[in-house]
Structure formats: structure tokens, C-alpha cells
Amino acid sequence: MVWLLTAHFAAAALAPLLVRWWGRNAFLALALVPAATTGWALAQALGVVAGTPVGVRIPWAPEYHLTLAFRMDTLSLVMTLIAAGIGTLILVYCARYFTDDEPGLGRFAGVLTGFAGAMVGLVLADDLIQLYVYWELTTVFSYLLIGHYTERRDSRRAAALAINVTTLGGLAMLVGLIMLGEAAGTYLISELLADPPGGPLTTVALALVLVGALSKSAILPFSLWLPSAMQAPTPVSGYLHAAAMVKAGVYLVARLTPGFGDLAVWQYTTLAFGTVTMVAAGWKALRQNDLKLLLAYGTVSQLGFLTAVLGAGTRDAALAGLAMLCAHAVFKAPLFLVVGIIDHSTGTRDLRELSGLRRSMPAVFWTSVLALASMAGLPPMAGFAAKEAVFGAFEHSGSPVLLVALVGLVVGSVFTVGYSLRFLWGAFFDKPDVPPTPVHPPAPLFVAPALLLGLLGLVGGPASSLLDPVLAAYADTVPWNAGNDPAHLALWHGFNLPLLLSALCLAGGLALFRWRTAVAWAGARFALPDAAAVYRRIVYYIVSFATQVTGATQRGSLPIYLGTILVTLVAASALPIIQGRLWTLEAPPVRWWDTPVQFIPAAVIVAAALWALMARGRLFAVVLAGMTGYGTATLFALQGAPDLALTQFLVETVSLVVFVLVLRRLPPRFSTPVLRTRRVLNLLIGAATGLLVASMAYFALAGRRAETISGGYPAAAEEAGGHNIISVLLVDVRAWDTMGEISVLASVAAGVASLLFVRRRTRRLRAPAVPGRLSVPVSSATGSAQTDGEWSPLPLGVAENIVTVRAEAKPLWLPGVLALSQERRSIIFEVVARLLFPVILVLSVFLLVTGHSSVGGGFAGGIVAGLGLMVRYLAGGRHELYLTLGLQPGVLIGLGMTITTGTALAGAVFGTEILAGGAYDLHLPFMEPVHLTSALAFDFGVYMLVVGLIQDILYSLGSGIDEQMERERQAGRAPQSEEVTA
């Protein structure tokens, strides 16, 4: 049976292609798949009814109790025959309902076939979760089918309504199913029913499952979606809303009743909701003018009927319910098909406009008569036999609840007769003031499916006693029968109460039809509110509530977001601190100072930090922030960490310069301060956070129980052959961190360049820059200043309007200054810069090489070299910067990263482990052997990358901004400041 399902979904996937080839006749080919399923089911029927179910179990994900478990017992057999059999007929009908050029027909055919497959899967599933899988698949497919006419707003809305409502129920059901499965310890339905769990949780679970079943079967209060779903093409209504999808809920009730039918929650819920739905929807059907809507409400009413009967929990009711379910499928589907035919042939389905169809479409008329007779419960139709059985079962039960329900069912049946007559009269009979409707006769293949089903209903009545053993095979699984002998289906039981009730129904129905105007008036007078409007109102309330919640939480303000984070942090940390009274922890050996000198930098830091908070000028604030950094560096130095101090000093210096460069483009002062109350609040939050972190630093040390691992560092440094622990940590022990951090630097460089350069539409340079040659714009006025678009912009040699000066022809301290205006030059600075530069470079290399054993390292060396570049730029302007290094920052950064990562890889290839160290003594003539280590290579990569980063920053924030400002000056605008940060 797995293959049959696969065939459905494969056919569904192929359907668009088939429709493209064969047009609407592709449906005939697709019909073969459900037809084969029907044939297969019939072939298994004898064995199944005899009590040997067909089954297969394939484990899927055992941890989640997912099993592909299929099992066909009698109930599944009957449902399969209905789903697949009617599915076959519907597909045949589709082949004539649509035209070849119907838009979206391929998709429709695929979805409909897929739906048939999902339905077959649903009724065959023997696993709760798997059942839910197919359940939701039918929901999704029905969404696509109901929304077939996508351009109609009503159709889209109806589809959304259907999927939302049925999924609401479906999800509730999922929880219920999981609760059942967990309570029973098995998710297999057959095992669950064999040993049903009990207890209050099971009650809740069943209630949730019923929410799903009721919503799927359009029982009140979920019934609203079904009438709207009539927006779908008629074959869809005929299949989904008569034979297939809505039957899923009823099927689930029937499926679980043998296990839980004696529980009050099960019985009372199904009986109450079923009966009320039957009466209310039947009442509504009585005044519909649209034939399809009349059927829709009729269907809701009948579904209520089925739910009540199948959930009643006695063996006879189960028998009667299943019979009724079959009868309903066989009479409701043809009626929908008939509506489709009428709509197709006349162009309307409003019963006020239809007249005389009895004569013009006799075959359709007689089909309808058969189906309606069955629906109204007239002998000798199948519907009659089933309804008799229902009345009998409820009457014999002796339970007062069932008797009360019986009253409701009879009233509902009266309405059923009434709207059946209304349908017959409205669709086919002559109306005095309406001219006979012009008809375009339907093709035989169009009518055949409906006629076949109508005839089945006719055969089903007399044959009911033959079918009795089949249906009884299911009914006998319900263990309770109120002490009665099992009832049997038959057309004639003699004169008894059920027969009397049937007659009463008929009489009542005739009366309702006789006074149909009054009924319609009363119906409108005592109408339930329009369900679709109620739904829209509910959705409106939910959405506007959601919007309010979102508006309250999603303020769009960065300060609020930060405030939330910090307040959460403080509140969440303060709770355990106070609860645990952390201050009572045994105090650590607090040493408040090592030398009193430390107080000076500490005081400077505190003062500068506080002052920075109040500063209004940006530059001033930056300088103050820098002072906290220098103060920290001093503290490091006093603590005996020269490496940290050196690095910190260098970084602070570079940062200051960078800030100054950037501040050229920002307003000199911060924007207007926020409200005073907000400032106080911010101050409180900030102070609380600071207090938290400071006190936690104390508590953390107070709580320490173990030695730190840093005790092992001196030995590690020794092992690595270095004397500088910091450096050994950076390039050897924790070189992996360093590798990560320099890639951070690389992305920072990329980001800086990206922000500044990418927005310009630029052309690539063809001519490469020649180091040592200098180009200066002839006239700055003409400067369209096309810069190179590479992320390392080299405005050298920008085409025609450039004079090139040979640097060697005109010896200068700094050749780049030629491009500077006179007032910006400073001879002394130039001379100093030129003299210092080589010294700085040598120093940087020195720091790089000696890092392993004394103060220094690649990072510090790189910054020093970068500072050299910075000096050249400050003294000589941007052209000088371009001339200083022939390499572009991208190349430096790239090579740096390649070298470090390459060293890391080499460690794995040549050594024992990634980043493993290696050494090589280089013997040069006349020199001491040079000890080259892989750590040095690694550090060299770091060095290059840092140089590249600083060069990149100077290119972007230095000369890049220079260029922008020059251009703006040429364009006659004042340098424009932008506020980019929030």
C-alpha cells in the first residue's frame, strides 16, 4: 500500500506535465491511480472483513515514535473505498468540467491528485503522528484547491480561512495525540485502542483531539470555513466537502470510539456539538438561494449528524453511523456534481433564476431525485436504511442523554427533508414567474459519475442487509451496546418507532417546504451571526493586539534596547547575589595597591572617564577617552607588564590619530543632549552596571577554589624557547587566538575601506602606479578626480590632466608635498619625518625579531611601522603616503593572513599538530647562525597585516577624506558634516 500512496504523489508531480500534453483529458489518466487503489482495496476486502487486517510498518524516526505504519481494517477499507472510489469519479468529472485553457489547470490537477493520495494515507495510517501528517497535508492541499481562482479575493480569503481554522484544530489535535501517545506508551493506533489509557490527562487529550476532529469536519463553532470554501471549483467541493476532507474528522471520531466511546468527554462532546450543528446548519440551509451554499449548509448539518452518531459510543450507533457515512458520501457527492453541471450548463446556480431544467436535463434531474431521496431518507434508498438504523440505535440505548440527542436528530432530519425538497424544486421545477432557463446540454461523461453514484444509493438500500456484515465488522469493535443484541441493517424492520420517526420527518419536511416563505423569513429573523464576519472580527482583534504588543516592545530606539539589555543584566545578576548573600563569602586577600604610585594613573583614569561623560566637544571627549587608555597602559607598566604597556600605548596613539582624522567629517560638538529625566535614568543604569561588574570582580575572586593555569606559563615559555611569556603566549601557546584576532583586524580594514570607497562609481585603472614617480593634478579645478575603485585607491596617474614629476629630478625631503598647498607645508616636520622614517622602520623590525625573548612582537612592531607611515602622511599629505609604500594595503593584509594561516597549516603538515612550532637554523657566511622559528614567520604575518591595516586606515580615513574634502571645495561647497551614527 506504500506503493499506492507513492503512485498518488508521483502522479501529482507529473500532473502539470500531463495536462500540458493532453489538456483536460489528463484527468482521465490521473483517475487511474485512485481507480487502482479502489481495485486493490476491493481485492483485499474479503480478508479484511473476515478479520485479518492488511498492514505494513516501516520505521522512520523511532526516537520521535515516527513509523510509517499502515493498517487496513474494516473501517479503513470502507473509508478507502469512499475516498479512492469517489476520487476516481471526481477526476473523471474534472475531465469535462474544465476547459483545456483553464488557467493553472496543471497545478490544480497535481494538487487534487495529491489530495486524493493524502486522504487515502489518512484513512490507512496506523500511527497517530502519521495520521496527523496526512491530516495536515489534506489541509494544505485543500488550501491550494479552495484558492484555485487566485484572482478572486473571496476565493483567497476562503482558502486562508479554511487553512487557519483547520490548522487551529489540527494543532490542538496534535498536542492531544502526543498526550495520548505518551500516556499509552505507544503511538500505534491499533495498540492504543487495544489498551486505551485513562485518567484526567487522557480526558484533556481527547478533548484536544476532538477540537481537531470537529474543526476538520466543520462542526460548530468551527463550521464557518466550509460554506466559504464553496468558492472552490465544484469538483473540489464535491470531493473535499462531501467525500473526503470533512470526513476526516468523522473518521477520527469513528476510529477512536472503540477505545474511548464510554468516556463522558467523548460521548457528550460529540453528541452535543454534533446535534446542535445538525439543527443549526439545517435551519440555515432552508433559506439558501445558492444551490451550492444550500448543499454546503446541508453538509455541515449532516456532518453534525455523523459526529453525533459515531461518537455515541454504542455498538449499534457505530453500525448505523458507518452506514450513514457511506450513504452520505454516495448522495452528497453527486449532488455537488449536479450543481456543477447546472452551473456549467446554465451559467447560474441561483435557484430563483433556474426554471424548467426538469425537462431540459432529464438525466441530471433523475440523478438528483435519487440522491435527494437518499438524503431525505426515503425508502428504498441507502439513506433511509441508515437513518432507520440510527433512530433504532438511539432509541434502544436507554440512555437519557441519547434520547435527548435523538430529539435533536429528528428535528435535524425534518430540516434535511425540507432543504432536499427546496433543492429539487429550486433546481429543476418550473417557476411561474421565471422563464425556462436556456441550457447548454452536458456531455455524457460529465453526467456519468453523478448518475453512477446516485444509482449506488438506490442499490445500497435493498443491499443494506448484504452490507451489514461488512459494517458490523467495524461496529463489533465497539464493546458497549447497552445490553442489547446487536442490531442489523435492513430496509424493513417492521412497524416501529424509527419508521414512525421517518414518517414524521417526511411530514415535517413537506410542511417546511409548503410554508417555505415563512420559514425563510423566520430563518433570517433568528439567524446566527455571519460566521465569516465573526472570523474576520476575531482576526482583526488578534492582529491589532499583536500590533500593540509589537509597538510596545519594538520601539526602534537604540538607547531603549541598550537600557533593556543592561537592566536585564543587572536585575538577573542581582537576584542570585542577594539571595546567596555573596558578600558573606570568605574575602579574598585583597591588596588595594602594589605601590602608591598606582594612585596617580588610577586617579587620572577616573577623572578622565567622568569628564568624558560631560564633554560636549567630540575631539575633547576623544582625548579624554585616550587618557583613560594611557592611564591603563601606565598601570600595566607599573604592574610589571612592559609588553602590554607598550602595545596599549601604541594602540592608543593610533586610535587617537584615527579619531582625529575621522572627526574632520563630523560636527565638532555632540548633538543636543537628551531629556534630563532620561539622562538621570541612563546614569542610574550605567552606575548600577558598573557597580555590578566591580562587585562581581570581587566576589569572583572571593569564590576562587583552584589554582590558575597561568602558573604553568613560565614553564611553557621556557619550553618554547622564549623568555617573554606574553610573546610566547601570543605567537605560540595561544597563537590560535592571535590568528583569529588578526582576521578581525582584516575585516576591520575591509570595513573601513568599504564604507568610504564603494559608493563611488569608478573605473579601474589600466596603468599601474610606478613607485618613485609622482603625479600631481595640473589644475585642481578640472579635477573630476576619478579615483581608482579598488579598495586601495591609488589616484596616481589619473589620465590626461596630470603632470608627472620625476622624483629624482627634483630631490626633495618628501616628494609628495609637491601636491600640497604652500600653507599646509612645514619644512621642519618634513625633515624630521624623512629622517625618522628609516629609524622607525628599523625599530619596528627590531621589535618583531626580538619579541620572542624581550619586549616587542609582531603586533607592536607592525604598529610602530604604521606610525612611521602615519608620520609621513601627516607631514607630506596623501601623495606622500602613496609614494611611501609601493604595496597596496590589500596585498599586505592578504599576505599577512596567508602567512599566518600558512604557518598554522605547515605545523600540521610538517609537525605534529596545527600551529605546531618548528625551527631552522640559517647558516650565513660571516655571521652567527640565525635561529628561524615558525613562530617568527607567524609573527611576521601579524606584522604585515598590522602595517596593512594602518596603511588602509590612512588611505581611507586619511587621504580618502582628504579627497572628498578637496572635491567638495572644488565644487564650491563647504565641507559637509554628516551625522551617521544614531
Binding site: 487566485t150 562581581m696 568599504s754
Partner: protein
Amino acid sequence: MEAFLHYLVPLPVVLPLFAAGLKFALGVRLQRLSQAVSVVALAAVLVIGLVLLFGVDAYGPQVVQVGGWEAPIGITLVADRLSTLMVTVSSAITLCVLVYSVGQGAADQEEATPLAIFYPTFLILVAGVSNAFLAGDLFNMYVGFEILLTSSYVLLTQGGTAARIRTGSTYVVVSLVSSVIFLVAIGLIYGATGTVNMAQLSVRLGELPVQLQLVLQVMLLLAFAIKAAVFPLSAWLPDSYPTAPAPVTAVFAGLLTKVGVYAMIRTQTLLFDNDALNGVLLWAALATMVIGIFGAMSQNDIKRLLSFTLVSHIGYMVFGIGLASLHGLSGAVFYVAHHITVQTTLFLVTGLIERRGGSTSLNDLSGLAKLSPMLGVLFFLPAMNLAGIPPLSGFLGKLGLLQAGVREGTPLAYLLVAGAVLTSLLTLFSIVRMWNYAFWRDPDDGRPVALGTLLESSEDDSVMGPSSPAGISVVGGTRPPIGIGGKAVMTSDVFPPLMLAATVALVVLGVAYTVFAGPLIGYSEATAAELLARTPYVEAVFPGGVR
């Protein structure tokens, strides 16, 4: 096999970095070679991830003591089931996104400049993500976070348009704050325990006074919860993600939040062995799910809507973490893998929608199913997957979590089950709304943008940013689609083949999770068992017991 396996562990970090270095050095030269380098690097990482996936499953956690320095002196990299799974899924995603962006860059004929920055930065991001997953050292995990965050700052502000910078600054500042909290927590933990090796911490943290443990745990969780966008720390996300170019948003949405989730899992299972905060996590999960999906309901912009569903579904994973049971964790792990994939896919599809329809606003879009049935299928499958429609992986993950919740059986767990179900329903509601508007409406009902329209970005495109009132997208506000480098994009009905291929590959990957649900769920379950046992991890790092 086993002996050589651990050599592979650092490669998911080193290879992308090496490739990024090459690409920086190449700059705008040799475009084809340069692109081949990145694709090959990420493809290699994917293969390595797959090999490790099977290897770790067979031989247990693989440990590398970097540079041969034994733990706890040196840095340890650990590939256990969880980190390997994360690395594998993320490399599959990043490879697809890379191919997509290559296609997009080529199609838009972007200038070489932005792309010369985009690709290496993207590779660095990938390396950072892998590093965060593989780190067996808390400080190194911080380094991993820094790598991925810094490159994400660059990627988010690509092109430097006003909108991107404005929203980018929210993202950058919030991320910096979370990093500072993380760093402070590391400092405090080092102060209290004297180590940052995670295996060693799993022992030493337990020796601290309980309430001190709790504060440290709270701080770490908060830092990660900001990254993972857990309510009430989630508001930054929908404000910052939507303005970035499609591939960037895709990888952010799919991956970056999950790094936070991953770190939360590690905190709750490896580092701290207590259940004191599980209740708090469950409440946070509930709020995240429900308030997140409320946000999605009222959005008119697809990107923003998807960002809210992203936040909301983070709640599912936190739900699993908070349950802290075998099934809860296994559900969370499976859901992480699923959600990375599906969310990335949806944002990539949104990129295609933008390209076809000229907008991502539901007010403008219409009739896409008719205009491009292909796009319809590509959207519908992952969208239904996100909504948790069976038998797609979103349903399987949800199923695992619901089962775990029901098994837990406490009132709070049932409340969470109800919240999860409600979230699932409202997700479907939002998706149906998107589908009804963008795909089903008659093409003339929206404000169709003609094919071949050049969608320029204006400097004052101030619509979707945090400046919009109350964070609700402004009706009628459309933000023109922008290429990777901030360049204008031409609407077209022909999708660049690479973009399409990458999207299709991801959709197929999402469906494959269902097909291979058996082994995948088995793997998640084994992962959860390994996490809860804690010993496999610790013993792999310290074979002779923790010193």
C-alpha cells in the same frame, strides 16, 4: 581513519581564513581564480564537515591541542557531535549563499570593489562561525564571536547606503554590548576558577558557591541570548537585518543567531551542571515565541516579517534547552539544523522575489505565482516548512519538542506546549498572508514594477529603519532593492542561474531533512545524550582526567 581524523578539526577555520588572505592579496585581479578559491575553500569545509560528522559519530569527540600545547595551557579545539553538526550545516548553508552571491554579483555587474571586500569578509565570517563552534576554550570562543561579529558589521553596512548604516549602527552597538558582557563574564570566570578551558571549567565551576555560579551563568546566558535574539533582548534584530543585501541577511538570519543558541546549549550542558535557570529559560522561550510571532503578524514587508518569525522560532530552541531533558535537547538540536536551513532559504528566495517583483512589500507584490511558478514552488516549500507543516523538517523538530514538553508534564511545560502550538498557528497565518498577497493576488492588484526597471537606491530611503513609528513598517513604504554593493538592481524575469541553483539546492536540502529524518533524529538524540552525559567531552579533552 581515526588517527587522521583530528587533523581535520581546525581546517573549517583555517581554510576559509587562508582563502580570505589569498583573496585580499589578489584584490580585484583574476576574478575567476579568486572566486574559485572561495568556492573551493567552502566546498572543502563542507566535505570535511561531513567526514567529521561520520567520524565523530563512530569514534567519539575529536580533540586538537593547538600547537601541541596540552590543555589547559594551550587552546583546545573540540569536535563533538554538536559542534560537528553545526559546522556541517553551516558550511552547507554558507556554500550555497556564496554561490548565490557570486551569481548576484555577476548579474548586477557590480564593480569589482565591493566584491573584493565582500567575499573575503564573508570567508572570515565563515571562519569565525566555525571557530565559535569548535572552540574548546571559552576565550577562544569569544575570539570566534569577535571574528564573526566584526565581519558581520562589514557585511551589514556593505555599500554604505544611508539605511544600511543607520540600521547597522543599532546592530553594531548592541553586538558590542553583548561582547563586552561576554568578555566580562570570561574575566570573572577566570578570576573565580583560574582557567578558561571549557572541559576544565565543567569541573571547576561546579566547585564554586552555588549563587556565584548562578551569577556567572546568568551573565554568559545573557550575552548569548542577545546574539540569539531571545526576548526581551531581541528587539534589535528585526530593526537591523532587513536592510542588508539578500545573501547577507540570509546568512545572518540562518546562522548568526544559531551561534548564540549553540553557546547557550554549551553553557547549560557543559559548563554548568544545574537546572536552576531552566524555569527562567522556559519563560523566556514562551515570551520569545509568542511576542516574536505577534510582530510577524502585522508586518507588510517580507524581509521584516521573516525577521520576526526568526526571533519567534528561536523560542522553540530555547524551549528545548530549558527542558534540559534528553528529548528536549535533541529536539532543540534538530530544530537548530532545520531552522538554519529554512530561514536562509527563505531569505534567498526573498532576494529572488525582490529581483522579480521589484519590492519586498506586500503592498506592491502580487501575482508572483502566475508570473513565475518556479518562484512559487521555491517559496512555498520552505515557507510551509517554516510553518511546521508535516512531513517537512519544521514539523519534525516541533514534534520532538512537543513530545519532550508533554513528557516533562509540568504545568509550565504544558504552557510552553500551548505557546509553541500557538506560535506555529500564527506562523502559518503570517505565511498564508504573504502567499495570498504576493503570490495569489491578480498581478494588477498590487503596484507591479515593470520588468527592466532600474531600482535605484535613494540616499534618504528612510522607510524601514528603526525610525519608523513603533517599529511597524509604514504602509506603502517601499525600500528599493539594492545589490550587494549598494548598486541599483534591474528587475528581471530571468533569474541568474547561479542564484537559482543555490536556492534550489537549499530547498532540496530542506526536503532532504525529511527524507533522512531517521538518521538525523538519531544523530540529534545521540548528540543530546552526549551533551547530558558531559563525560565524553571532558574525557576527550583530558584523557587522564581533569587536572
